[in-house]
């Protein structure tokens, strides 16, 4: 693949939507690195496969709900549970967690993943935009 062919805005083929059921994490090679496409909850998300922390392959990590704390009304701790509405993408290098929806760090605004647009054509072809 020619580097010159991949100007910003270029679409890179990912696959057919039917090949990307929930739970798929597809890593697409592009010049200078990789883009990860993650299928979760009926949506496709794409991020640069380089973590905002130290550069780890963040798109290859676990997708898991945010851990929440349950308390009684008088602030006694009952325990912990997984959020079903806030999936996190967790980098496998050190475990930093990012909001799957936006790529922002779950806790530290200094860290944010580089997001890529995902385009799904009517025929089901999926591309990411560099």
């Amino acid at each position: 693949m020619q580097e010159s062919a991949l100007k910003p805005g270029t679409r890179v083929f990912v696959g057919h939507r039917s090949e990307l059921p929930d739970g798929t994490q597809r890593i697409v090679s592009v010049p200078g690195g990789e883009i990860g496409v993650i299928a979760h909850g009926g949506h496709l998300y794409a991020y640069r496969n380089r973590c905002a922390h130290q550069g780890g392959p963040v798109c290859e990590g676990m997708v898991i709900g945010r851990v929440m704390a349950a308390m009684t009304e008088d602030k006694k701790m009952l325990g912990e549970y997984f959020s079903e509405s806030e999936p996190h993408l967790v980098c496998p290098w050190h475990g930093m967690e990012f909001l799957l929806e936006s790529g922002e760090s779950a806790v530290d605004p200094r860290f944010r993943l580089h997001r890529h647009e995902v385009v799904e054509d009517p025929d089901g072809t999926v591309h990411v935009v560099i």
Partner: protein
């Protein structure tokens, strides 16, 4: 975003792969570390990793064959097949299975799936060296000092003869089987510190063994470093020019830590607190004055504890110098002459805090890059390389030249950039 071209060009059918959690390969996990190394030309710079780990528990069946005492040897194998050899009689354990963040840090649960080439898979020691080799090559590390894992708490074993026996078996196994298997590997050997005489004997026996660049005391133990029994050991290390490292660790059996319920709490405090105790004793009892030629290295406590301890000790010393008769200058001035490994390097939002810390500890000459790979909070070399306040010389010193000077290593990179870029086996 502009939308060109509209239709996919067949040449843009990029190669892709789907994440497969049923396999594991260091070269895939650390592919971005390789990219970082190439972007920064680290392959043409000396990088020494002063603290990395292997899993001695995964090679235990080989290590126990070096136990010299037949009774202990029998206990280790329980008279059974070597694959059934148990660590639990020898290595104190604790509730600690949370290091991998419940599987979020993938290498803990998957590293056993990694396949090396046939020669490296032929023995557990070769596999140990082979895994280290891959990590070094991916991170552009020329030399790596390997430390064990569970053995870091061996100093808590109730039978000190076990500590001595395991330390000797480990020293022989590591120096005969692992270190010779890769030219990049070095060790600061585990000292059975509960037995000062045995520690001295181990230094005498192994100081000149290939790859031994120093010796190491693990920080979870209850025998103070200034005990007179250790003076012959320190004198011997000083005479031989071998640095003494203190490797931080924690143990939940320490009563003051029993209240700390979460791993984040005990790891944050434990890894600094245990080294604070030994460093405080080291200074207050004048060991830098007694052994001015003995280099000491404080390993895996990060750096933020040092500004605290320097200020605190200086403050009290100014008022209570009667308790420190050997000290002729402020405690912090001795600390500035010691060595420190960099990991886990803290990340304050205000970088001037880190810059001040570097100044306080004379980082340009005293700081030693360390990865701690493969542990959960490892640091890639780019952590040091990318610090905006470092001069080029400071960066080179911290990444490799300080360690080369301290441990007598070559000052040129060992790994061949052409080989690294051609694809690592």
């Amino acid at each position: 975003m502009t939308e060109t071209p509209v239709r996919p060009d067949p040449t843009l059918r990029a190669t892709y792969r789907d994440v497969d959690t049923g396999s594991f390969d260091t070269r895939e996990l650390l592919a971005n570390a390789r990219r970082q190394a190439e972007e920064r030309d680290l392959d043409r710079m000396l990088v020494v990793d002063v603290d990395a780990h292997h899993y001695e528990t995964e090679a235990w069946s080989e290590i126990v064959t070096y136990l010299e005492d037949p009774v202990l040897q029998h206990l280790a194998t329980a008279g059974r097949h070597p694959s059934l050899a148990k660590t639990s009689a020898f290595l104190p354990t604790q509730i600690s299975g949370q290091q991998d963040l419940a599987g979020r840090v993938s290498r803990y649960t998957r590293r056993h799936l990694e396949k090396l080439d046939a020669a490296e898979e032929s023995t557990k020691s070769n596999r140990t060296a082979g895994l280290a080799r891959r990590a070094m090559e991916m991170m552009s590390i020329d030399y790596q000092i390997l430390f064990p894992g569970l053995m870091l708490n061996l100093g808590l074993h109730p039978q000190k003869e076990f500590e001595v026996a395991v330390a000797r078996a480990y020293a022989r196994w590591l120096t005969e089987k692992v270190i010779p298997a890769d030219p990049g590997l070095r060790t600061m050997l585990y000292l059975p510190f509960n037995d000062p005489e045995a520690s001295l004997e181990l230094v005498k026996e192994f100081a000149d063994a290939p790859g031994v660049v120093g010796f190491m005391v693990t920080a979870t133990r209850y025998k103070a470093v200034h005990d007179n029994a250790y003076m012959p050991l320190y004198a011997e290390l000083e005479r031989r020019g071998k640095p003494l490292g203190f490797h931080a660790v924690f143990h939940r059996a320490d009563r003051s830590f029993e209240q700390l319920n979460k791993f984040i709490s005990i790891h944050s405090l434990g890894f600094t607190f245990t080294n604070m105790i030994h460093l405080t004793n080291w200074i207050v009892n004048g060991l830098p004055v007694r052994f001015p030629g003995l280099d000491v290295v404080w390993i895996e406590s990060g750096l933020a504890w040092l500004p605290f301890l320097m200020q605190r000790l200086d403050h009290e010393w100014a008022l209570r110098s009667s308790e420190t008769p050997l000290l002729t200058r402020a405690p912090s001035t001795y600390i500035r002459e010691m060595y420190f490994t960099s990991q886990p390097l803290e990340t304050p939002e205000d970088l001037s805090i880190l810059e001040t810390t570097f100044k306080m500890i004379n980082a340009e000459t005293q700081l030693l890059y360390s990865s701690d790979y493969p542990h959960w909070d490892f640091d890639v070399p780019s952590r040091i390389y990318d610090l905006p306040f470092l001069t080029d010389q400071a960066r080179r010193n911290i990444l490799g030249l300080n360690a080369a000077r301290l441990f007598g290593l070559p000052t040129e990179p060992r790994l061949d950039p052409e080989y690294l870029r051609g694809g690592i086996r």
